[in-house]
Amino acid sequence: MATLDLNNISKSFGAAKVLHDINLAINDREFVVFVGPSGCGKSTLLRIIAGLEEATGGQIIIDGNDVSRADPVDRGISMVFQSYALYPHLSVFENIAFPLRVQKIADAELKERVGRAAEILQLTDKLQLKPGQLSGGQRQRVAIGRSIVRNPKVFLFDEPLSNLDAALRGDMRVELSQLHSQLNATMVYVTHDQVEAMTMADRIVVLNGGRVEQFGTPMELYHHPATKFVASFIGQPNMNLIPAKVLEAGAGDITVELDGGAKMTLPVESQGGIVGSKVEVGIRPEDVSLADEGLRVGVRVLERLGGASITYGTIGNGTRFCASLPGNAPVQEGKDMTLAVDPAACHVFDANGDVLRRQSAPALVA
C-alpha cells in the first residue's frame, strides 16, 4: 500500500494548457475522488498518474519513488477504464488473468489468484463466460477483478460507474466502498458526479479549468467551500447564489443588502475595503424554512418528492431561488412564500469567487 504525491504537475496539449501546477499529497489507504465538470482535466490527471500520458512538467511520487518517467506497469498502479476495456474475445477468467499472463505467472498460482479475485467480486460462476454475456454491473466487476489481481499499490478508476443505470450505480457505489475497506488500498477515483464523490471519498479534489479548487473531506467541502465554484458544485440541489451589496463591515460580521432589498447581517470574517463592494450570498436550499417573515420567494415550480418538496422560484429582480422544504410544506405554485434564513448558515463570496470565512459552522464530522 502506498502514498501518492503529485508535485507541480502540469500538462499542455500543444498551446492549450489543461493542468496548472497540481500539488496533491494522498495518504496511504485513502480513497480520493477527483471531481469536476467535463473538461476540467480530471481524467487527464488520472491518465498522467497511470502513465498513459506524460506530464509536461512535475513529478509523480508513489511510495517515495519518483515514477514520473516509468512505464505504467512499473508504477505499481492498476486502472479501471470507463468503458471497462474488457477483451471481448477472452473469457472472464482470461480477462482477469491477463495481467498475470503478461507476467508469465505459473498456472497454479495464476488460478489461485484469479479464483480469489473472482470470489471477492462474486464472479466465481461466471468465469467461463465471455464479457458479452454479462450484465453491465458484472462487466464492471470483471474490470475491477483484472485490476485487483495484480495487487497494485494504487488503484485508479476512470468514471467507472458512468455507464450503469441509476439503481445499479447506487449498488456499485456501496460495493466499491466495501471493496476499499476490504482491500485497504489507496484508491484514486475520477467522476463528474458529486454524489459519488460525497458518498465514497475520504477526501475530494475539486478540479476546475485544470486547477485544484479545493482538496478536503466531503464535509469540509460542504460546510466550508473555499470558492463559489466548489459551493455550487457540491450539494444537491445546487446552492443559491444571490447578488448582494455590502453595507457595513464589523469585527466579525458584515451587513449586506440582498437583491430585492432584504438586509441581513452575516457572521463572516472580512477585510478592509469591502464596504460598498458587490458580493454573492450563498444559501443552501436545505438551510431555509417556512416562516411568517423573512425572504419573500415567488414559487414557480413545485416538485413534491414525498419526503421533501423542492420549490423553484425567484426573489428580488428575478434571481433564481431554490428551496428544499418538508414534504407536506403548505406552498403552492404561483404563490409567494416567506422563508426564514439562518444567517449562520450563509456563505459569502467576494467578487473573485473566494469565500469569506464563516465564523460559525456545524462541527465537522470526523
Partner: protein, 347 residues
Amino acid sequence: MEVLHFGIILVALSSVFGIIYPRPDSRAVKPLQGGKRVAEVSYTGEIATEATRKKVVSESVFAWLLVGPAMLFIAVIVAWPLAETIRLSFMDAGLGGETYVGFANYEELLESRKFHQTIIRTFYWMFLSVALKLILGLIGATLLNAAVPGRALFRVLVMPPWVIPIAIGCIGWLWLYNGYFGVLSGTMMKLGITDGPFEFLAHKQSAFYSAIVTDVWVGVPMVTLFFLAAMQGVSRDLYEAAWVDGAGRWYRFRRITIPQIMPVIVSMSLLSAIFTFNSFEIIWILTEGGPRGATTTLIVDTYKTAIGNYKFGEGSARAVIIVLLLGAFSLAYLFFLNRVNRKYGVK
C-alpha cells in the same frame, strides 16, 4: 452475415460463369447485394410506419415486391448461365452444333494428367499468392495503423495497384519483366547477378513466380485496407488497458489485434482466395498461360478450351468443376469461420 456469405458465393459463381458467357463484369453482382439490403431496411421502415400508414398491400406481398427485381436479376445473370453451363457440359458442343455425350467430357478430364497438374498448379497458385497477400497486408496495415508522421500520405500511396486498371498495371509489369528493356533484368546485369538479359516470362519457373508477384501486387492493397479498417475498429482502451498491465507491443498485437480482427482475416482470405483462384486478366496479359502451360490455371485452361478452341462442351465441364471446387472450398470456409467466431467472438 448470411447475406454476406450468400453474396460471397454468388461473386464466386458469377465470376466463374462470366468467363464462358459474355459478362457485364463481376461487378454486376454488387447491386444484387444492395437490393438485399434495401429489402431489409424497408422491412424495418415498414414496422416504424405501421401505425401511421394504411396498408395497401400485405407485408409478404410487399416483401416479394422488394426482393423481386433482385431475384429476377439473379435469375438472368447467375441462374440461367449456371443451368446452361451444366447442360453444355454434357454436350459435345462447338460452332457446328451440339450432340449429347453424357459424362464423356468429365471422364476425359478425370483421366487427363495435364488437367490434374492444372488443378494442383491452381491451388498452389492460390495458396502462395493468398498467403503472401495476407502476410504483406497484415504488415502493411500494422505499419499504416501505427502513429507515424505522414501516415495519411502512406495510406494514399497504398492505393495505386488497386486503383490503376489491372490491364494497365500488368502492361507495366510486362515491361519490367522484359529481358532487353526491363528494369529488373537490367539491374540484375549491372549487379552482375546474370551475364546476359534474363527474360522473366520465358522460363517456366520464373514466369510462374513473376505472375505471382504481379498478382500479389494487385491484390495487396485491398487486403491491407480491409485489415487497416478492422484494426482501426479495435478500441484504444483495450491497448491502454493491456499497456497498463505490462503487455509489450508484440504481446498486444498477438493477444488483442489478431483475435480482434480474426473474422476479417478469415473473410478476406476467402474473398482473396476466390479472386486469386479465378484471376484471369493478370495471367492472360503476362503469359497467356505459357510458357508451355507453366502459368495455366483452371480458369485460363477453361478460357483456352471454351473460347480459344470453341470446345464449349469441354470448357463447360471445366467450369462446372471449378464451381464444385470453389463450392467445397466455401463450405470448408463457413465451417472454419464458425469455429473462429466461437473462439474469438463475443459469445
